[in-house]
């Protein structure tokens, strides 16, 4: 009964979305206020209905209702409760329910908090949002209905893929989707603005918070996925340039560019057509990510729920959404009025450079990801594109980007003083030199790693130097500096935190790529292995049965120079219901580096395959990512961007005075 209720609510949501997609749009075109007003209750009704559908599916998982096909395929009565709840989105059908639920929540947020939006813009935004909803409701109901029953009901379910039964991965998809779906807001605003024929600073101020929410979530989602790959897959890496990873990375790159170009629209009323294009592209890349993962047209280590029929459907959605919006763009964008002019060396100029580099980087990842498909379609042969391509193309693009990142915030709007800005970065330059020398002294190479460490120092210290500059640290009494710091806009704090954190993350990325040590050994109990100055003794293996899996837990003692460091217990789990083995690496972190042990298979001779790694600076990647997210959230709390904050005319004197400091 309850699954049927969910199914029914889903169908109702489709019809509500159909109304919301058409009436307010027509109302905005004809000036019919009553029709436009339909958008608000419709958006709220959608949230309620989708919540019912979502809870119905969750209920079926929690009580292990094996008469529901989706539950049979992805759950097991012995599965821990956490994974029963998270299992709802651990499969294709359920993940799409989560997708539309978030879409509806974003729509409702605009309906609730968008009181100050011009009524026609609001009606059009909500209409476009509902159009996306209609597409996805149809997709779910026609190709991926999670409420399908199975008769007779089996006694036990097939269980969730054991790799997904992990706290890191349980919350990876929701944040990823929150990011993907969040960009739908920027898209809806862009399309609505194209229909309205008007893009202005107020528009940008409306787009920015949604983009910030989406960007912060996507950052967190990608970081969680990477962290999961690091400790769960047992290969010791954290990024593989796999098509599915790239599918989430492309919207992130484009979204980062959007975040920055929207600032220019907001402050200087320039780069409008470009920003609208970025908004369309960012969401299109999110849709494409959804498509690529489910279509099976690219080889990936973690493609899930591959089904060509679904792929064709999402492809049509993609063509309608992206093709339609780009056609609208080609038709309407030329008539958008161009805004303020600026010199190449200026805050705008730096942001344009940031956009150019980020867009090129996005294109690079795009080409690298889809090149095998393009060649195959043209019958030019089969290739695979791997990390060497991305290291050779993507990394060099990031070098100028990070270099400019520290300088940009120190430049004034319209016309900046580059020598002056560089002079104020002397502390960052000194730190960079010190880090480069230290790196050469400790590691000696490779050259790219030294460059990377230098850039990281430049980015982090540069961001802090800019902050110090703003609060006149050490030039006025400390108390006054603190007062100034407290008075800084949250957006400025967010920028500083995010930019400094990127530097920290770069240290982790460079360090783990350049100076990782690895050894794979067949060890008997009592054997000792060495990695990066640590000696690791294999003390034994404990076996046990926990909930829905069997486990072998290795006991290892880590010592350095004869002194005890840690006891590590890497696990190897076997899930009988899926006949699958997973590894749970054991990690000892000093915050400067990780000692990492993954337990492999035993052989007949009583030896266990053990992978031992030493990963310098890996924890800095996670710290940096947390910092990026924190920066995004702090920016989001800025009063100027707060959802529902009263709309005021932007005051150019205030902005100019700020930049002139």
């Amino acid at each position: 009964m309850i699954p049927e209720l969910g199914h029914y609510a889903l169908v109702l949501a489709l019809f509500v979305a159909l109304v919301q997609a058409t009436l307010p749009m027509a109302g905005a075109a004809t000036g019919n206020a009553a029709w436009m007003a339909v958008a608000r209750p419709a958006a709220l009704a959608q949230v309620l209905l989708i919540a019912v559908a979502y809870l119905a599916l969750t209920w079926a998982y929690v009580v292990s209702d094996f008469s529901v096909m989706n539950v049979v395929q992805n759950s097991h009565s012995l599965k821990p409760m956490l994974y029963k709840v998270s299992g709802v989105w651990g499969n294709h059908e359920g993940s799409m329910i989560l997708w539309v639920a978030m879409l509806a929540v974003f729509g409702a947020a605009v309906a609730l908090f968008g009181r100050n939006l011009p009524p026609t813009l609001k009606a059009r935004v909500l209409s476009v949002q509902a159009m996306i909803g209609v597409g996805f409701y149809l997709f779910i109901l026609m190709t991926s209905n999670p409420f399908v029953r199975v008769i007779p009901a089996p006694l036990e379910g097939n269980d969730l893929n054991p790799l997904l039964q992990d706290p890191g991965l349980a919350f990876h998809p929701p944040f990823l989707y929150l990011g993907y779906v969040g960009f739908s807001m920027a898209f809806s605003f862009a399309v609505a603005a194209l229909i309205e024929g008007r893009v202005d600073p107020a528009w940008a101020r409306w787009v920015r918070p949604w983009t910030l929410v989406a960007w912060s979530s996507l950052t967190l989602g990608i970081a969680m996925g990477s962290w999961w790959a690091y400790y769960e897959l047992g290969w010791g890496g954290w990024w593989y340039w796999d098509p599915v990873e790239n599918a989430s990375f492309m919207p992130w790159l484009a979204g980062t560019a959007l975040l920055h170009s929207a600032i220019v629209v907001e402050k200087r009323d320039a780069l409008k057509t470009w920003t609208v294009l970025l908004a369309i592209v960012t969401f299109s890349l999110s849709l494409m990510g959804t498509f690529l993962v489910r279509s099976g047209i690219l080889t990936s280590v973690h493609a899930f729920a591959v089904d060509p029929e679904r792929g064709v459907f999402i492809l049509f959605l993609l063509i309608i959404a992206t093709g339609g919006s780009l056609a609208l763009y080609a038709y309407r964008a030329p008539s958008l009025k161009a805004g303020g002019v600026f010199a190449p060396v200026s805050r705008e100029g730096a942001l344009v450079l940031n956009n150019l580099l980020l867009s090129t980087a996005t294109a690079t990842v795009f080409i690298g990801t889809l090149y095998p498909l393009f060649l195959d379609v043209l019958d030019l042969g089969k290739v695979s594109v791997g990390p060497p391509f991305f290291n050779a193309t993507f990394v060099p693009l990031m070098i100028p980007m990070v270099a400019v990142m520290a300088v940009g915030p120190l430049l004034a709007w319209k016309r900046g003083d580059l020598p002056g800005a560089l002079k104020r970065l002397w502390s960052a330059a000194a730190a960079t030199l010190a880090v480069v020398l230290l790196t050469v002294w400790v590691y000696g190479g490779p050259v790219m790693a030294i460059v990377g460490m230098g850039l990281a120092a430049w980015a982090t210290v540069g961001a802090l130097a800019e902050l110090a500059e703003r609060v006149r640290l050490f030039r006025i009494p400390l108390r006054d500096s603190l007062a100034r710091a407290a008075g800084l806009p949250r957006g400025t704090w967010g920028t500083t935190i995010a930019h400094a954190s990127l530097g920290i993350a770069i240290v982790g990325m460079v360090g783990s790529s350049a100076w990782q040590s690895e050894t794979i050994q067949a060890m008997r109990v009592g054997d000792t292995a060495e990695v990066a100055g640590y000696s690791i003794r294999f003390d034994g293996v404990d076996q046990g049965i926990v909930e829905n899996f069997r486990t072998d837990i290795g006991r290892f003692t880590v010592e350095r120079d004869g002194a005890f460091v840690a006891t590590l217990t890497p696990e190897r789990r076997f899930y009988p219901s899926q006949q699958m083995t997973t590894t749970e690496a054991a990690i000892h972190t000093t915050w400067l580096s990780d000692v990492y042990i993954a337990l492999g298979d035993p052989n007949e001779a009583g030896q266990w395959t053990v992978r031992l790694y030493h990963h310098p600076f890996v924890p800095w990647i996670w710290l940096g990512c947390i910092g990026l997210v924190a920066g995004g959230l702090v920016s989001l709390s800025d009063r100027r961007l707060r959802v529902g904050a009263p709309e005021r005319r932007r005051s150019p004197p205030a902005a100019a005075a700020h930049a002139a400091e």
């Binding site: 099976g296 492809l315 992206t322 030329p334 089969k382």
Partner: protein, 181 residues
């Protein structure tokens, strides 16, 4: 000109959309082999040094005539090879299929240690330290497995680790059929 610039994103997207659409009919994992139904390429490899099977010999074109055989390309550094190894062992020991191996770009000591640790089901193992013979065979990566008939022609090729499904549904039936014919 300015108009065209605004049209450009749409034009590019149409190209991508067409590629996506055409991509559906294709299996990205399927790699065509020009060698199917062709004779085994001319090659001769020395035996893996130090392998202590009584009749440890190298592997050459002439060795692949007379019986239906499998040729497995493996390396000690290849993780998927380890995954498929029990399946190959079963094919050799239980199904009675002669399995030869080409040891691809490996150090002999590593390969020997690997075979000692994981079991050695192979009849002949040819050492191909520089990967030259693998190029002749059109090997894209390890592991790959070839099925060779009595006349020394390649009849089937599998890229990546062998799976129980491929073995049950393709390899064993094909071996039976080729042995009869």
């Amino acid at each position: 000109m300015r108009r065209f610039l605004f049209l450009l994103p749409l034009v590019l997207f149409v190209g991508v959309g067409v590629a996506f659409f055409l991509g559906f009919g294709r299996d990205p994992r399927a790699i065509p082999s020009v060698l199917i139904d062709k004779p085994v390429p001319e090659f001769a490899l020395a035996a893996l040094p130090g392998r202590d099977k009584a009749d440890a010999r190298g592997l050459a074109t002439a060795d692949l005539r007379g019986d239906v055989t499998l040729v497995n390309v493996f390396a000690s550094w290849c993780v998927p090879c380890k995954v498929e190894h029990p399946i190959i062992t079963r094919l050799a020991r239980e199904e009675g299929i002669t399995v030869h191996a080409i040891n691809h770009k490996d150090k002999p000591a590593d390969a020997l240690a690997w075979l000692t640790r994981n079991g050695d089901p192979y009849d002949r193992v040819g050492a191909d330290p520089d990967g030259r013979a693998s190029i002749e065979w059109g090997v894209y990566g390890v592991p790959e497995t070839f099925l060779v008939d009595r006349e020394g022609r390649i009849r089937f090729k599998h890229v990546g680790p062998l799976t129980p499904a491929v073995v049950e549904e393709t390899i064993i039936p094909l071996v039976k059929q080729l042995r009869k014919g």
